[in-house]
């Protein structure tokens, strides 16, 4: 066992990379849940995004186009969920689970011709001399564009929800859909748009795994990242900045686990791979122990079917 083999700077830099997929997916889901919709299909949308992005990047030899395709793929898949739950008024939990299973199957089918191929490389942004600053350089200025996009998205989602009318309407729809409807807001339209935003974010996160983090295509390669993303939204009590903290925390555990293995720590691997889920369960228990506080943070209409009667 040699813990000194773990370089903290490299650890932090790789933590940011490892966390980006769940950060993106969790941000998308945060917006969806703020609009009052519980979409449990994050895993399915991520894996679909992963294969859409991978396939298009390989075919066009352009990773940027791949990311755009991943967002489109995730959004289209989420639209199925949107139509089912918002127009046909089916149960959100069941539809979300079905979406995950469907996404896993669909991606496996689409990805059959792409196993074992290497995607075109995505280059890190060049910040010139900034990257040579000690400590800050390798941590902050040595990443690809998507990492910075995900960070910008945290700020953007926070600002939009807090300061803009769009964000206010979105929160209002999630808080009390009947009142929002009575005031003349298009509850169904707003929710479907939020669902598609969530799908696009999840798709982008998925493609980040298949194009940068791994980078290759294997079936089921998201390996539960979507579920962690869902847990992070609750963990963060629906606040964007806490989503960032949660995602980096869980990403950090994943990376640390790999590093510890490499350093030969004598803990069975399984314990470490379990740890993000264990922490999630713990956090959920602690949060829901105080019923009234958990209820205060959650959007009041979350998961409830909206039916515009009369």
């Amino acid at each position: 066992m040699d813990l000194s083999a773990i370089n903290p700077l490299v650890l932090i830099a790789s933590l940011m990379v490892a966390s980006t997929p769940i950060l993106l997916a969790a941000l998308g889901e945060l917006v969806v849940e703020k609009a009052g919709v519980l979409n449990l299909g994050v895993e399915g949308m991520m894996i679909t995004g992963a294969i859409c992005g991978f396939a298009i990047a390989v075919e066009t030899d352009n990773p940027a186009l791949g990311f755009v395709a991943a967002m489109a793929g995730g959004a289209i898949l989420s639209l199925i969920f949107g139509v089912m739950t918002q127009v046909l008024l089916s149960n959100q939990v069941a539809s979300g689970l079905a979406l995950t299973l469907f996404g896993l199957g669909l991606s496996a089918l689409m990805g059959q011709g792409y196993v074992g191929i290497k995607p075109p490389a995505t280059h890190d942004l060049n910040f010139g001399p900034l990257a040579d600053i000690p400590v800050l350089g390798p941590v902050l200025f040595s990443h690809d564009a998507v990492v910075y996009i995900s960070l910008a998205l945290v700020v953007a989602v926070w600002a939009v929800l807090k300061f803009t009318r769009l964000g206010l309407i979105l929160r209002a729809v999630g808080e009390n859909h009947d009142a929002a409807h009575a005031l003349g807001y298009k509850v169904v339209r707003i929710r479907i748009l939020a669902i598609m935003f969530g799908g696009a974010c999840a798709g982008l996160g998925g493609a980040y795994i298949s194009l940068i983090r791994v980078p290759q295509w294997t079936e089921g390669m998201t390996a539960g990242a979507g579920w962690i993303a869902l847990a992070i939204v609750v963990f963060a009590s629906w606040k964007p900045v806490r989503v960032l903290i949660g995602a980096y925390l869980f990403g950090g555990i994943t990376v640390l686990q790999l590093n510890l293995q490499a350093a030969g720590v004598a803990i069975p691997v399984e314990y470490l791979s379990m740890s993000p889920y264990l922490i999630t369960i713990l956090v959920l228990v602690i949060m829901s122990a105080d019923r009234s506080r958990a209820a205060l943070n959650a959007p009041a209409s979350l998961g409830r079917v909206f039916h515009a009667s009369s």
């Binding site: 009318r165 206010l168 309407i169 929160r171 209002a172 808080e175 009390n176 009947d178 009142a179 929002a180 009575a182 005031l183 003349g184 807001y185 019923r291 009234s292 506080r293 209820a295 205060l296 959007p299 009041a300 009369s310």
Partner: protein
């Protein structure tokens, strides 16, 4: 002066029911016009059409002489029509300014909006802090938020749907002052209510709806309340009555009951004490959200109380859950019919079983006795005149009044020693309400101690022997109901909530 709003032959049908049938009337600028009718008479559908939430099947409206066909509330607001909803259309987790911004077409920046809210609210005598979270406000303050939201848009016609049902008499006074000021400034008000005295003091004209049709119109100042009631119901109503009787010994005794509310926006009970005697009806008034639900669940056993805080004939029962309390004949009928008092998608038979199983002996060794349950359900339906095709129908399919008769009847037939009812006639038409009140009085006559929690003060004055009021989780000392004036009652209810009115001791 030209007519402000003219309604001509509006018709709207829903599957199985014509909500509005050829309704016509008109409103002048500055007029306070009442729309009178029982629940289900079509008042709500009519105003929803005026506000653009529902499209009429037939008929036309004109506003300022121009054709007026609002496709959505936004269009109605743009035309100068604003509405204060019966069930507040507010967002608990957002603050006052955010709530108001949501109801405006082009809200100014938040800082300017806050300043305007302060200005307008003080101008109309309805002070309001823009930065407070709506979930923490009292019912009267919440209504103020809605009114200010409308006033900020400078409406020509203000629709108010049952605005006083949640207010104390003092708050009603303040509201009426505001409405008179608005009317003097030329804003017309369409006022929906079934509180006849209010309409007589406030309104210049009234249109009376029954079963979706305009049956009459009048100047309410020239009519008596009972004349108005007859126009509304179509028949004469006999008020409930019972012979005078001396109450017996104390059955239920509550001492220093304090319970924390499970709901983050709920009200915790603070130090509540009262007694109820055999054959006595204790009326508990108060504005909604002052601890009524919490009191009911502490008495029903849904929330457990300190063991000695609740006693039945001297025995401590605070630690008992609902079923042990049913064993000893402490029964309750909660306010929310669908979902609390009855399971909406279960049949009346199943619902009869849910609370009746213990006292009626409908369960043997874990097996259900369906034939006996059916007989029990059918006897409720028969004795309480519940209009339904059969006991096998889902609770959801019954109208509010009929389901309420069923829910109350179910408890009454179990011969309770103590019966607690919350809002027994909420949303129930006048004749069903009279029947329910009579059954409560009959029960008291046979020696049951009855607690009626209600926001309808007229109802409480009609049936209670003693009256107490809940205010922010505290209960005023009960006083004999006979001879109490509206003003005294209002002060027991806490006067005008959070207004600069002296809190004199009653």
């Amino acid at each position: 002066m030209t007519t402000l709003l003219n309604i001509d032959g509006l018709t709207k049908a829903y599957p199985g029911v014509v909500a509005n049938d050829n309704v016509s009337f008109s409103i002048q600028p500055g007029e306070v016009h009442a729309l009178l009718g029982e629940n289900g008479a079509g008042k709500s559908t009519l105003v929803k059409m005026i506000y653009g939430l529902v499209k009429p099947d037939k008929g036309r409206m004109t506003l300022h002489g121009q054709p007026y066909e609002p496709a959505e509330p936004r269009a109605a607001r743009a035309a100068g029509v604003a509405m204060v909803f019966q069930h507040f259309s507010l967002f608990d987790a957002l603050n006052v300014a955010e709530n108001i911004a949501l109801g405006m077409e082009k809200p100014p920046a938040m800082r300017d909006l806050a300043a305007r809210i302060r200005e307008v609210s003080e101008n109309y005598g309805l002070p309001l802090d823009p930065s407070r979270t709506v979930g923490d406000l009292s019912a009267g303050e919440r209504q103020r938020v809605e009114i200010i939201r409308c006033l900020l848009q400078d409406p020509k016609l203000l629709i108010m749907d049952e605005p006083t049902s949640v207010l104390t008499p003092q708050e009603v006074e303040i509201l009426f002052k505001t409405l008179r000021k608005l009317s003097a400034e030329g804003t017309a008000i369409l006022y929906i209510s079934h509180k006849l005295e209010e309409i007589r003091t406030l309104c210049d004209g009234a249109t009376i709806l029954r079963l979706g049709k305009v049956v009459d119109s009048c100047n309410p100042r020239e009519k008596s309340a009972s004349e108005l009631a007859e126009m509304m119901v179509g028949t004469k109503l006999t008020p409930p009555s019972r012979p005078e009787a001396e109450p017996g010994e104390v059955v239920l005794e509550v001492t220093n009951l304090s319970v924390k509310s499970a709901n983050p926006f709920g009200t915790s009970l603070k130090d509540i004490s009262f007694t109820v005697r055999e054959g006595e009806v204790l009326g508990i008034g108060g504005v909604a959200g002052n601890g009524q639900d919490e009191l009911l669940s502490a008495l029903s056993g849904e929330t457990l109380a300190p063991n000695d805080a609740v006693r039945l004939r001297g025995e401590s029962i605070g630690h008992m859950g609902p079923n042990p309390r049913r064993h000893i004949a402490v029964l309750t009928a909660p306010e929310e019919r669908l979902g609390h008092a009855a399971a909406p998608d279960m049949s009346l038979i199943e619902n009869a079983l849910l609370t009746g199983a213990i006292r009626q002996g409908l369960v043997r060794n874990g097996f259900l006795n369906w034939p006996a349950t059916r007989i029990f359900a059918e006897s409720i339906i028969k004795q309480f005149d519940v209009r339904t095709p059969g006991a096998g129908n889902a609770a959801r399919s019954l109208s509010g009044g009929n389901l309420q008769k069923f829910v109350i009847g179910r408890e009454v037939l179990q011969k309770p020693e103590v019966l607690v009812v919350n809002q027994p006639t909420w949303g129930v038409d006048a004749s069903a309400a009279a029947a329910i009140r009579q059954s409560i009085l009959d029960l008291a006559e046979n020696g049951t101690a009855v607690i009626v929690i209600s926001q309808d003060l007229d109802e409480l004055m009609e049936i209670s022997d003693r009256f107490a009021a809940l205010n922010e989780g505290r209960l005023s000392p009960p006083r004999p109901a006979r001879g109490l004036t509206m003003e005294e009652i209002g002060l027991m209810m806490g006067g005008a909530h959070d207004m600069e009115v002296a809190h004199a001791e009653a």
